[in-house]
Symmetry: C2
Subunit: 209 residues, 2 copies
């Protein structure tokens, strides 16, 4: 309650930073291993405009290292026993990165479908990534996360032939929890559907265009 209040205050401060600096901040949330880092490396490689990443993990800099292999700058935040990024951590990382105007700043949250839901980081939009291997009932079972998201990305579409995942049922569940949620289906591995995702980012970048 008090923690959330302080977080919201810092989130508002971050949001001002981002708007003044003309930086598009996107908060990527998902379970462990849904494909956030794979999607980001593929996305950054495909984007022509500049990108930076704030990487959140309990331990290691494995994800930040993967991002850096694309040539993009990444800051790794290690939360230790902590289960989510908060606005304070993002604020410090933001001052480390010091992004130029026109940069897209991707924030990869700790792999966790529960705790990050309640922590505004100051992002322009929140993207929840659900892999088709996790099951189509997840929007109902973890509603706070799907309620708080602007876009649901269904990843690992290449595995659809081998798993009992009903795409339509999943979208219906997500819309019951969050009627306005947008949905994209793609495979970060094969590249299928990446065009739609890049278009979505571009529209968020320049909504008046």
């Amino acid at each position: 309650q008090d923690i959330l209040g302080r977080n919201d205050h810092m989130a508002a401060h971050n949001r001002e930073h981002f708007e003044r600096a003309d930086v598009l901040a996107l908060n990527l949330v998902s379970s462990p291993g849904s494909g956030k880092t794979t999607l980001l490396t593929r996305t950054i490689t495909a984007m022509e405009s500049p990108a930076m990443v704030i990487e959140g993990d309990q331990q290691t800099s494995l994800d930040a290292d993967r991002i850096r292999e694309t040539g993009a700058k990444a800051v790794q935040v290690n939360t230790g026993k902590g289960c989510h990024l908060d606005a304070d951590m993002v604020h410090r990382a933001l001052h480390d990165l010091d992004p130029d105007p026109g940069t897209t700043l991707f924030i990869e949250n700790v792999g966790n479908l529960v705790c990050p839901a309640g922590f505004d980081l100051g992002e322009a939009a929140r993207v929840v990534i659900l892999s088709v291997t996790e099951g189509d009932d997840k929007p109902l079972k973890y509603p706070d996360m799907f309620h708080s998201a602007d876009l649901m990305v269904l990843n690992k579409s290449d595995l659809l032939p081998y798993v009992p995942f009903d795409v339509d049922a999943c979208i219906t569940h997500a819309r019951r929890i969050n009627p306005g949620i947008e949905v994209l289906t793609l495979s970060a591995l094969s590249g299928a559907g990446m065009g739609g995702w890049l278009d979505w980012i571009a529209k968020r970048r320049a909504p008046q265009a």
Copy 2:
């Protein structure tokens, strides 16, 4: 700190309950959608001895319903915004279920690879389920969970042909974090490897046999 202290006290109380009642309590932890419920339904159907389940989820009784379809008794605990089961919740559910001697009590924790690590429920053993779709570096990135587990089950082995998962690398990572961890590989969907898992439960049931 204080929360953990109170939890450990209740966990010790649960552990006494289980031992006095000759109930084998197993705490199943994993990311969302790694296959806990699917594995449990398959396991209960295959077991000849009695089984009961404490189901933990933020919302819905979808998992408890799936368990009940096997004929086994299940109690659904909804944690709301909570990110893990604690010893208090298990204590209350245990008194609801009132298992007979010789029962195996499976506790399916909230899908979360972070927060449940720190909460002893009074279990005899903790099983972490990692699906091969999540990536082989997870033991390094979420070390507390793998450090706290007695057994790692690699699930969805049927998908190995279609995903870049290195089983040996994953086991090496897990043993670096927890040298004594046991490992089983199986598919809850196809049934491959189920024999080894049932044997492991039986050995925990009657270690002197």
